[in-house]
Amino acid sequence: MKELTASQITAAVRELCVEANYRLPQDVTDCLRRCRQQEDWPVAKEILGNILDNVAVAAEGDYPLCQDTGLACVFVRLGQEVHISGDFAAAVDEGVRQGYRDGYLRASAVADPLRRVNTGDNTPALLTVDLVPGDACEITVAPKGFGSENMGALRMLRPSDGVTGVKNFVLETVKNAGPNPCPPIVVGVGVGGSFDKVALCAKRALLRPLNQPHPDPFWAAMEQELLEEINALGIGPQGFGGRTTALAVAIETMPTHITALPVAVNINCHVTRHARRVL
């Protein structure tokens, strides 16, 4: 049995909020560099250059990567052998509160979706906990900007819609989003499960490193095909035209019901942020 205190959780979440908002993960930066080299449309190449310059400026620590420092999506893989003294969810929220305050990050949360008063400290976190074997507590903070989040879509397809139905829905969603989600985008796709679980699959897909395909060759091939088809749309960086509309497509799947083929598309902008720590 491992003992952790609420204050250890708070300290880790606080640091991860700051780190994620100032340092773009290396795999995303590498992918942006590669896409810039491959891009032959001048305005697209220039914008990808601006984006890489922005990554460098943010890493100096004075200005976050994006002014939309997101809602704090916190994913925890909690070992069954870990005991936490104190209120776990409150400790996570306190970490978000401190991280957003001390990191000079934006408070973007409203307490009520229609009455819309800002909570002032970016809480609550959007917390997802998985109970897993072992005695480690792995915390991932993925600040999610909502310019891209608002472009997501979910549809309950029929099983007969098949591969074509899934691909068409992804392409249609990306096409409709056009320049709005700050392309080049990362496309998280969930397939299977239920109405609620498929959305979580799509969100989790965005946590995967961009250079890591799905372990099942069937789905890895679909990721690659979708990426090529999206980049043939011509939307380009910022929607001004070009090859680089998406950096990657990541699909996560779940078993589903005999009647069902749920599909969810969760779009992320090029500022695909996440930071991870194991306690």
Partner: protein
């Protein structure tokens, strides 16, 4: 490179064409969802606005808080379509330019043509670069809205792209179309 300054007159606006890169120097007023709602409510009630819209340019942005010694934090554009419901009302009052990112409605584009106004794009997701280029920032209205308050910004040679011009030409249509045409030619 084309230089644009404020006040941003109809004559300046009419010269710009979709797809051009420009350098913007002068005053930008920040406003996004909540500030737009208040501006339009003030107009509906016949109350004065906190700044003169004539030949003004609004930047759709909600910055991060400044670190000590800085004038502002990260300050890139937010998605513009959420302001579409309000933009024609402000354009009719003399607003000449908008800076943001993403698609605009046909009603906004029609109002832009009628009012000789321009829609500029800033590069979304480059808030650190843009924030560092802002020379001064001062809250002038609706301070209670926090990041959504109206700020007067001074910028010097901020790089922007003309996305929709006063004739209604739209880079979001022509850019991808021209790119695909070039790709087809190359095949």
């Amino acid at each position: 490179m084309i230089e644009v300054t404020t006040p941003f007159t109809a004559a300046q606006a009419d010269h710009l064409r979709a797809g051009q890169s420009i350098l913007f120097t002068g005053t930008l007023y920040t406003a996004r969802d909540a500030a737009h709602a208040r501006l339009c409510q003030a107009l509906a009630e016949g109350k004065p606005l906190p700044f003169d819209l004539t030949d003004a340019v609004i930047y759709y942005v909600g910055p991060t808080p400044p670190r000590p010694g800085r004038v502002i934090g990260s300050a890139g554009p937010t998605t513009s379509y959420r302001m579409d419901a309000y933009a024609p009302t402000l354009l009719d009052q003399g607003l000449r330019g908008m800076v943001g990112k993403g698609l605009r409605s046909s009603a906004v584009i029609e109002s832009m043509r009628r009012n000789h106004a321009v829609y500029f794009g800033a590069v979304g997701g480059t808030g650190a670069l843009i924030g560092r280029a802002i020379r001064s920032a001062e809250v002038i209205a609706y301070e209670d809205l926090g990041t959504e308050a109206i700020r007067r910004l001074t910028v010097e040679r901020l790089p922007l792209t003309v996305v929709i011009d006063t004739l209604g030409n739209n880079l979001y249509e022509t850019g991808p179309r021209d790119y695909l045409a070039q790709q087809n030619q190359a095949k």
